[in-house]
């Protein structure tokens, strides 16, 4: 076979959307490992089973039961699932050294973070949010409750994805760090005072639930607009920090 070292006239251009799409597809395929998906589907199935159990032992206020179910999933299933996906999106590449194939390209580093965030959200919505929505409808098929779980779930997934994608860039062991954040910070410290509450995604998501359904929840002190906008804006800032961090990282 005769070969030449001159490529066949490459057509060049700068199109960030093509780059973003290519990286998005790559990361999507990378994080969807059979083991990871199976674990998340099992967790979602358990969540759905608890919905049936709640329905079976229904109290006098199904709306309250439904909000309680969503609140519990926002506190556990959603952040844990997003952590598993988000931390792996870029963190695995940094760990095994394959990040070099993205980093050393004429592409701004924020594109890597944005692609990872999009991929994490894309997987988390069908694998985690859809079962939670289904469980909510099992408990109480009400349009207000449905709206609240959709909005709260999307905001939670968006914010946690930004947090944990960046966590994968920032920490070598992002998974334990993320669990510490979810269980210790959001679970205990954030309930200690007003200032700490402002630094927990869960408080904003609870506020969305409370504002839409009218069901009172603890540590839900924000307006609907704040509940939606603050986590998403902070998430965008965290992604920007992650891109800066990636630019300054040592790449193996």
């Amino acid at each position: 076979m005769t070969t030449t070292t001159q490529p066949p006239s490459p057509v060049r251009g700068s199109a960030l959307d093509r780059t973003l799409r290519a990286e998005y597809r790559l990361i999507l395929r990378s994080i969807c490992t059979p083991g990871r998906l199976a674990a998340l589907i099992i967790l979602s199935a358990i969540s759905l089973l608890t919905a049936f159990a709640t329905k079976a032992g229904s109290s006098l206020d199904p709306l309250q039961d439904g909000v309680g179910y969503v609140n519990a999933n926002v506190a556990t299933l959603i952040p844990v699932a997003v952590l598993v996906l988000g931390a792996a999106s870029l963190g695995d590449m940094l760990e095994d050294g394959s990040m070099v194939y993205l980093w050393l390209r004429p592409v701004p580093h924020w594109v890597h973070l944005l692609a990872a965030w999009m991929a994490t959200v894309t997987v988390a919505v069908p694998v985690v949010l859809v079962p939670v929505i289904a469980g909510t409808l099992v408990i109480h098929p009400d349009s207000t409750l449905l709206l609240s779980v959709v909005v709260a779930g999307l905001v939670a997934i968006g914010a946690y994805s930004a947090l944990f994608v960046t966590g994968g860039v920032r920490f070598k062991r992002a998974l334990p760090w993320g669990l510490v954040y979810i269980l210790i910070w959001e679970g205990f410290v954030a309930s200690a005072g007003q200032t700490a509450t402002k630094l927990a995604v869960r408080s904003y998501v609870r506020s969305i639930l409370e504002q839409i359904t009218g069901v009172e929840l603890k540590l839900a002190n924000f307006s609907l607009a704040s509940g939606i906008l603050v986590p998403l804006l902070v998430g965008a800032l965290i992604l920007a920090y992650g891109a800066r961090r990636l630019s300054r990282s040592d790449i193996a």
């Binding site: 790559l26 394959s98 050393l104 004429p106």
Partner: protein, 317 residues
């Protein structure tokens, strides 16, 4: 009007670059510049070769000093990153992708709008089948190396940094890639290749960078480096029909430090091995010395100006 010769700007410029990890100095005050062609980077394990190569690509910044590729800082300049390519030492690639998808992705990320055509070409250059669908995780080490080389070709790079690219390849593929790297260098690219297999390095050409304990021990043509190493006597074998007579003359006239006679062996005449500090003087005077004693010279062979000897001397300093 007399024309002033234009010296091409170096493609790689490293000035007083140092890098340390905690208390460990990986690269210490290294300076060199390289232009087009193939340069071999040599050094024992842990000498700082990979760290130096990573610095050249901007993958890690120097703690002190500067690294310029095509006049720009590869860590900060997005455009220059598109003109560099790397074959990293680590095996990991994107597990979810096959070879074609992997190389195609490299083309897309380099802003190439006909990535399918370019990826097919690059895989064919390294003699891999572009239609092979299986994941690269099932590939042998040698096949993975060739995929890594293919992805490094897609952006038509000006600077190629290859970290142990021949590891795991069979002899035929080694020859093929050595020839490929040579062609890439001949076409005006700056190709820097690290390897620990000296026989292979010798075939890349004679230009070397030798790193030992994080420092640049030598740079340039390894034969010229050897000539400059006057603290190590040159060892030369001479075969002749009158070894004893010529050895005596050599001791008396051409500045030999030591002479050791060698008996004749089957089909070969006897001779001697001489140690001298001045190899060029020896080469110019041995013929006249042999005429004086009426000896016929059968063989005059330097024994330690090969890359292996030069490398050994440099890293033992």
């Amino acid at each position: 009007m007399s024309a002033t010769p234009i010296t091409p700007a170096p493609m790689i410029e490293v000035e007083n670059a140092s890098k340390w990890f905690g208390d460990v100095v990986a690269v210490s005050d290294v300076s060199f510049s390289l232009g087009p062609g193939v340069t071999a980077l040599l050094g024992p394990n842990g000498a700082g070769k990979s760290t130096l190569l990573r610095m050249l690509c901007g993958l890690t910044p120097p703690d002190r000093g500067t690294v310029r590729i095509l006049g720009a800082d590869p860590r900060k300049d997005i455009a220059v990153r598109g003109r560099i390519s790397i074959v990293p030492q680590q095996e990991a690639m994107f597990e979810a992708l096959g070879a074609f998808e992997f190389v195609r992705l490299a083309a897309v990320l380099n802003g190439i709008f006909n990535p399918d055509e370019i990826a097919r070409w690059a895989l064919q250059v390294v003699e891999l089948d572009p239609d092979e669908k299986r994941s690269t995780t099932t590939y042998s080490k040698g096949m993975k190396q060739r995929v890594k080389v293919a992805q490094a070709l897609v952006n038509d790079p000006a600077v190629m940094v290859l970290d142990e690219p021949l590891t795991g390849l069979d002899p035929r593929q080694r020859n093929h890639l050595i020839e490929l790297f040579g062609r890439l260098g001949d076409e005006g690219r700056c190709v820097i290749v690290s390897s620990h297999v000296l026989d292979e390095v010798e075939r890349f050409g004679s230009r070397v960078l030798v790193v030992a304990q994080g420092r640049l021990a030598a740079t340039g043509d390894f034969r010229a480096i050897r000539d400059l190493m006057d603290d190590r006597p040159h060892r030369i074998r001479v075969r002749t029909d009158k070894p004893r007579e010529l050895a005596t003359e050599v001791m008396a006239s051409v500045g030999a430090l030591a002479v050791r006679l060698e008996p004749p062996s089957t089909g070969r005449p006897g001779g001697f091995v001489v140690d001298t500090n001045d190899a060029s003087l020896f080469r110019t005077t041995i013929a006249t010395a042999s005429q004086r004693v009426g000896a016929s010279l059968v063989e005059v062979t330097p024994l330690d100006d090969d890359l292996d000897s030069v490398f050994r001397y440099l890293v033992q300093r």
